[in-house]
């Protein structure tokens, strides 16, 4: 039995039905809201574990809803958008959303995103991020020693690669936009930084995932950013 309480914010009835049916079928508890105002009200009164938020709402922009919720809570928000322009997603992610889905999405994809968030929540509740050691599958980062290990073998990372790895690990499960990452690593976000980021990410991934037989630690979101996945 999933105890997770999910707030579904969607104005279109068939899509809302699709989502609630899916959630019901997988034993999630849920609330629904049809517009931004109700969504903020529900979020504040029931304090759900997760918000599925449609960006195109009748009364206000979804990004505004994210900003409102973020003013008092860190509850995970997954944005659902029919707009296929990357800029909308990036704006939502930078406003504080954790993840995004583009319509049309498949039911499996929706469930997968919810599971990712669920794992992240579990990790946050166990108080892990504060500790000096981070573990994810076979990956271990010793923040105090400034070293990273895979299968207990030390990874030979350049300073930038290590910084990137730490940034992703600290935000595990969350999609980080290119701008967010370059701002944290270089303090700027020029085009050359983003190109450099691609190369560093590619080499970092190769080093981590080399002997991992198809296991994926870092996920690329083309045109948006990167995310570290929780590996069992």
């Amino acid at each position: 039995m999933n105890k997770l309480l999910i707030l579904v914010v969607e104005d279109d009835l068939p899509v809302r039905n699709l989502m609630t049916t899916t959630l019901k079928a997988h034993d999630y508890r849920f609330l629904t809201a049809q517009n931004g105002q109700t969504a903020i009200l529900e979020a504040s009164s029931h304090n759900p574990d997760l918000v599925l938020l449609d960006l195109g709402l009748p009364d206000m922009d979804g990004v505004e809803v994210i900003k409102k919720i973020r003013s008092w809570s860190n509850m995970p928000i997954i944005v659902i958008s029919a707009r296929s322009e990357d800029n909308d997603k990036i704006e939502a992610l930078d406003a504080g959303a954790d993840d995004y889905l583009t319509k049309p999405f498949s039911v499996e994809e929706l469930l997968a995103r919810i599971r990712v968030t669920q794992r992240r929540l579990a990790m946050m509740q166990s108080g892990q991020p504060a500790s000096a050691v981070f573990t994810n599958g076979n990956l271990r980062i010793d923040f105090a020693a400034g070293c990273a290990y895979i299968h207990e073998g030390e990874l030979h990372l350049t300073p930038i690669e290590y910084k990137l790895l730490c940034l992703l690990a600290q935000n595990i499960g969350k999609v980080l936009t290119h701008t967010y990452i370059t701002q944290h690593i270089w303090g700027t976000s020029w085009e050359n930084d983003i190109a450099s980021l691609r190369v560093y990410m590619a080499t970092l991934r190769k080093k981590i995932e080399k002997d991992e037989a198809g296991k994926q630690y870092i996920q690329t979101h083309i045109g948006v950013g990167y995310r570290m996945l929780k590996v069992e």
């Binding site: 049309p104 085009e191 050359n192 930084d193 190109a195 691609r198 690329t220 083309i222």
Partner: protein, 518 residues
């Protein structure tokens, strides 16, 4: 042209003080010589008629070498007076005794004046001819230059070059932009420093007023330029400013400037018409394309929609009567057709973005590997029936692209390979670097494409020589879209036979170097 210009300038010498004294001195000299000859003739006992002829000749010469016909008149009169003074009885007085003398004087005056007038007329005529020839020459040259000029700026440049050559003055051209003027184009005369006053904001303002016909040059003596419109009928294409340099323009100069500007306006008008025609043609073509697209879409939408709605209605009305397997088949069909529609929508979005031009492409540097991975997550799930092989390279292949569109290209190419090869075929995706390009290949070991169809497959609405198009669910849009996208990236796309006799689609993108930022 140089010779003509010189001659033209000589003719244009105006009635200044210096030239007046020169002409006068020459005339007096000739009269003196005529009188000297007359005295010699009279000494030799020649008749008066000979002496008169000498004077007429003198006046004739004066009329030829001086610049104004007033000299002919004055010296015709003077020659009569001198003749009277020196050669009629009583000599050295202005009195004539002979009754016939007044008649002689009159005839002498008339013949001197008329011959000289004729000479002047001839001379003027010759000058007009020369001017006309020169003007024709200039206009002809201008015409030729304008004929070769393409675009408004080129036309303005050709016109200004001709005007500078003709007038040896600085020229400023303002082309019209809506109801305002573009930034001035300045063409300084050879060996001339172009003064900034020519294009001062004051002058620009005057040019603008001139365009709007509110500026009266006669009331404004402070202007450093003389302005002319470049116009046809009542519409002006711009304004030309001619630096005055404290010399006004002569009538002939003015008339030729107007002719050149007329030519210029004609050229601009033609250019404008040609451009409008071209735009109209492009618009018509776009409309045609859109009409074709709409027709194709509405046709292609019908089939999957029929299947989706039909299957759903069957399940709704008598779902209980179907066995599990039938139901499952119906669900699968609904799902597949819906997914096909999803793909169609993605392609249409890409089409509109490409049609709106380069402005809408979001270029960034991407890793080819990641883009291919992204595309694979979107590929139709039919791929289960095919074997997809990705050849990995250790090299980092970076290319500048709109990732979303290139992902669409890959999806279309892979979907195509899946669609047109039998189950169990292998599709190999590989990328490598060749000089300054990233090459991406999607090869299959299916039946391949006949040589004569290799060009056609990239045409819009081509979907192969398949008679039962409905069952294939093909819009014939995919490959033509791929081509437009790759072309917009400055790459190329083609199809060749793959080593194991299938089709091998290859596209290229310009490779990008990255300087790593530590």
């Amino acid at each position: 042209m140089g010779v003509a210009t010189q001659r033209y300038h000589k003719n244009e010498i105006s009635f200044t003080k210096a030239s007046f004294f020169l002409d006068f001195a020459k005339s007096v000299g000739i009269m003196t010589m005529a009188t000297a000859f007359g005295l010699i003739f009279s000494h030799l006992g020649f008749s008066e008629a000979n002496i008169i002829t000498v004077y007429i000749l003198g006046v004739l010469i004066i009329s030829v070498i001086t610049s104004h016909r007033i000299y002919s008149f004055i010296f015709s009169l003077i020659s009569v007076i001198i003749f009277n003074f020196f050669f009629t009885e009583p000599k050295f007085t202005l009195i004539a005794y002979d009754n016939g003398d007044p008649v002689t004087f009159l005839v002498m005056f008339l013949s001197a004046f008329m011959t000289s007038s004729l000479a002047v007329k001839l001379k003027t005529h010759a000058r007009f001819e020369a001017e006309r020839a020169y003007r024709t020459q200039i206009l002809f040259d201008t015409n030729q230059l304008l004929g070769q000029a393409e675009g408004r700026e080129a036309i303005a440049t050709a016109t200004a070059t001709q005007l500078v050559k003709l007038l040896s003055r600085d020229i400023v051209i303002y082309l019209r932009e809506g109801d305002a003027l573009q930034a001035p184009l300045v063409f300084p005369a050879p060996g001339h420093e172009c003064a900034a006053v020519l294009i001062s904001s004051d002058e620009q303002e005057k040019a603008l007023q001139f365009l709007k016909q509110t500026y009266d040059e006669n009331t404004d003596a402070s202007s450093v330029c003389l302005y002319f419109p470049i116009g046809m009928n009542t519409y002006s294409f711009g304004v030309v400013g001619i630096a005055l340099d404290e010399r006004t323009l002569g009538t002939f100069e003015k008339s030729i400037v107007l002719s050149i500007l007329g030519e210029c306006a004609l050229a601009l008008e033609n250019e404008k018409n040609a451009r409008e025609k071209e735009e109209a043609a492009i618009m018509a073509k776009n409309e045609q394309l859109q009409a074709n697209l709409l027709r194709a879409i509405s046709h292609d939408l019908r089939t999957p929609l029929t299947s989706i709605s039909g299957n759903a209605s069957n399940l709704l009305s008598n779902g209980d009567n179907f066995d599990e397997e039938t139901k499952r088949q119906l669900y699968t069909d609904i799902y597949d057709d819906a997914m096909w529609l999803v793909g169609l929508v993605e392609n249409l979005l890409a089409v509109t973005r490409i049609e709106q031009g380069k402005m809408n492409l979001h270029f960034s540097v991407e890793l080819m590997d990641e883009v291919i991975q992204e595309a694979l997550t979107h590929v139709n799930r039919h791929k289960a029936s095919h074997r997809l092989v990705i050849k990995e390279t250790d090299e980092l292949l970076l290319a500048r692209m709109d990732a979303r569109l290139i992902v669409q290209v890959l999806i279309n190419l892979i979907d195509n390979a899946v669609k047109y090869t039998p189950d169990g075929s292998t599709i190999t995706i590989s990328a490598w670097r060749k000089e300054n390009s990233i090459m991406v290949s999607i090869a299959d070991n299916g039946p391949g494409i006949a040589d004569d169809l290799k060009e056609q497959v990239f045409e819009m609405f081509y979907s192969g020589a398949h008679p039962i198009a409905d069952s294939r669910r093909s819009l014939g849009l995919g490959l033509s879209l791929c081509k437009s996208i790759v072309m917009a990236h400055g790459g190329s796309i083609w199809v060749q036979d793959s080593p194991d006799q299938g089709a091998d689609f290859i596209f290229t993108l310009p490779a990008e170097e990255v300087t790593l930022h530590e």
